[in-house]
Subunit: 204 residues, 2 copies
Amino acid sequence: MSDLALHLPQRLDDEARAQLFTDARTANTFAETPVTDDELSEIWELARWAPTAANFQPLRVVYVKTPEARERLAALMSEGNREKTLAAPAVALLAFDSRFHEHIPTIAPFRAGIVPTLEEDEGMRTGMASFNSAIQAGYFVLAVRSLGFAAGPMGGFDKAGVDAEFFADGRLHSTLVVTIGHPTENSYRDRMPRLEHSDVVQWV
Amino acid sequence: MSDLALHLPQRLDDEARAQLFTDARTANTFAETPVTDDELSEIWELARWAPTAANFQPLRVVYVKTPEARERLAALMSEGNREKTLAAPAVALLAFDSRFHEHIPTIAPFRAGIVPTLEEDEGMRTGMASFNSAIQAGYFVLAVRSLGFAAGPMGGFDKAGVDAEFFADGRLHSTLVVTIGHPTENSYRDRMPRLEHSDVVQWV
């Protein structure tokens, strides 16, 4: 009997589902408690296992740690996101690798035949990398929450500016900035409304 | 004291983290056990609460339930995905709403000022909807797993064909097909390798 047979999935308990989804909230401020490098590495150790198309894994994660790098990033955030970026215990800059196809022979050898096509077609690469790295960004946010942290994802920043500042060789393209820390009871604003079930879910 | 103060997040236990990430796997086949409409609705009841940029929530979920609709979808899947699409207990067709901005006055009234710009600029809408619906697709996959199901996300299908067949008015655009069911010990192939930590995570 394989290990998998021993671990057929169960419905997570109410508390776990609440923490991941129904009670979870985007944090605007955090407790002073630091987030260690080991804890930040562990976020990736979870998120890395969730699936991507053909296993191509285009997401890259840059933890912006030094005060100098944090200032450089904050200067390129939208005004309302600057203070949050400076003050958070940890900040992840998420990006996609426009040359992810270089890893295909190692991570998806059964798809090695597509590498020359991808080398030629930057638009195709960008489309695949953008879509799949965004799915991985969703996994990343929930991995943060799985470890008992709160996340503050922010799309409001000068992406071309950040790419020029942090990814001067043109290979990586920034997509999202995520603050990470331990929340406090004052970390949250009121939750905004969600669409009605009937506006989102259809049956055919 | 607010409810939030009573529910500051914890590290999920080993079993929950394993089920969501480290032990979880994409399923190619499923047990015969059906997945009920209530269970499918509950997936969305979880996933809907995870965050999107400015709360715009562009993802739409179409459960392809009738045998006739399932056949129409399967015919537009890549050859290797057809049998899986026909045989799965449940199939979700994920799409983004290219006119998500019509909901902004209700779900994000503080951003109502952007509605005229979005009405004019279809490219801007498509970019925002595509990126944020992909993040939501990541949440959706993990919501499936949170309820004890396995997911089989598939990007290999004729997207223009599916849009013409299922979304003839041009409003929705398909992005991903996700099979859903209870896994068995035979549901999985060997797991493919993941990138090294040092290929993904950087510190600056």
